[in-house]
Symmetry: C2
Subunit: 178 residues, 2 copies
Amino acid sequence: MVRSAAELFAGRAYDGVSIDDLVTHLGLHRNSLYKTFGSKRGLYLAALRWSLEHDVAPLIDRVSRAAGPGEGLREALSPPGGGAGLDLLLLAAVERAPVDAEVAELVTRTLDALDAATGVPDGTGDPGDPGDPDGGPGALAVALTSAVLGLRIRARAGAPGADAGRACEALGRRLATR
Amino acid sequence: MVRSAAELFAGRAYDGVSIDDLVTHLGLHRNSLYKTFGSKRGLYLAALRWSLEHDVAPLIDRVSRAAGPGEGLREALSPPGGGAGLDLLLLAAVERAPVDAEVAELVTRTLDALDAATGVPDGTGDPGDPGDPDGGPGALAVALTSAVLGLRIRARAGAPGADAGRACEALGRRLATR
DNA sequence: GAGATTAAGGAACGATCGTTCTTGACTGAG
DNA sequence: CTCAGTCAAGAACGATCGTTCCTTAATCTC
């Protein structure tokens, strides 16, 4: 149920998903929705948390176990389960986080975890260069996960699609050497 | 007028900006809006085109003239003019392009131009590696511009902010060497 | 100066939004 | 059997959405 809601919210913007859409695509009916989740926002938060736990968290696990940075992040773009993947997190970051503090908190915490999972060093020449300088992973890891978000955007926007894998592979190779 | 509309649409989602918001924040009044642009979507498209021409195009110019890939893209994150910058393009790519073919066309064409402006080689080991293999810039350039989009997302989502510059700098250094 | 044209400023429209209330059938305990 | 409680199903609510229409004031032409 919550998973179906997550898939709907991952497909289009928050305002683009109406209560009628939710009621018809899900089995659940109006009364139960408000009884259980309180409001549309409540259901959205539940769906977001579900997606972060069941889609993104396993992905973070696989990334942290991957051989190189490129390999792990390439499969981040095409999740095996066929679920919402990163899309709900992406939409939440772009359109909900700026107007919803609770969403912003969830998003930043998840992205920070994804940064840490890459295991990529800082990459700046600043003092205290390696790994974790002072709280939080390195600048290069932030850039890498940001690239994944951007590639997912371009795939959604209708790019040819196949070159997303090539782009991630090329980037991973550059970051892996040395 | 169109610029003010672009700033509004860059700030929140398309459905989050109402006609009342537009007529109050802009000087223009309802009748003229529909006389001139036909519909809300018409005004949105005009604003998007304006932003692409006045915000993104100069940015692409500066990127193509920058010394290294990192230097040019870092200022892409904090445009000097203080305008909408990449935000309208970003929102258009995430939430409008999947449901509006005309927006998708504008977005993909602009992003392709940004790729080409980086002057970054392909980076894959594929045959025909250097520069433009067959139509369109290299995979590494796609990854680089995608990273810029992702960093802008994280800045909007409430990240500490300062590390976006560090991330872009670190990535630029990695891509410049060799 | 008189008449035609245009734009401003709202009122008003139907549709749809998120939310709540009412109704009717079903279930378990006494 | 009876009755309190639960839940599906949908009607209905006020608010707001995008869009159109109407009235009035200003501008331009002859």
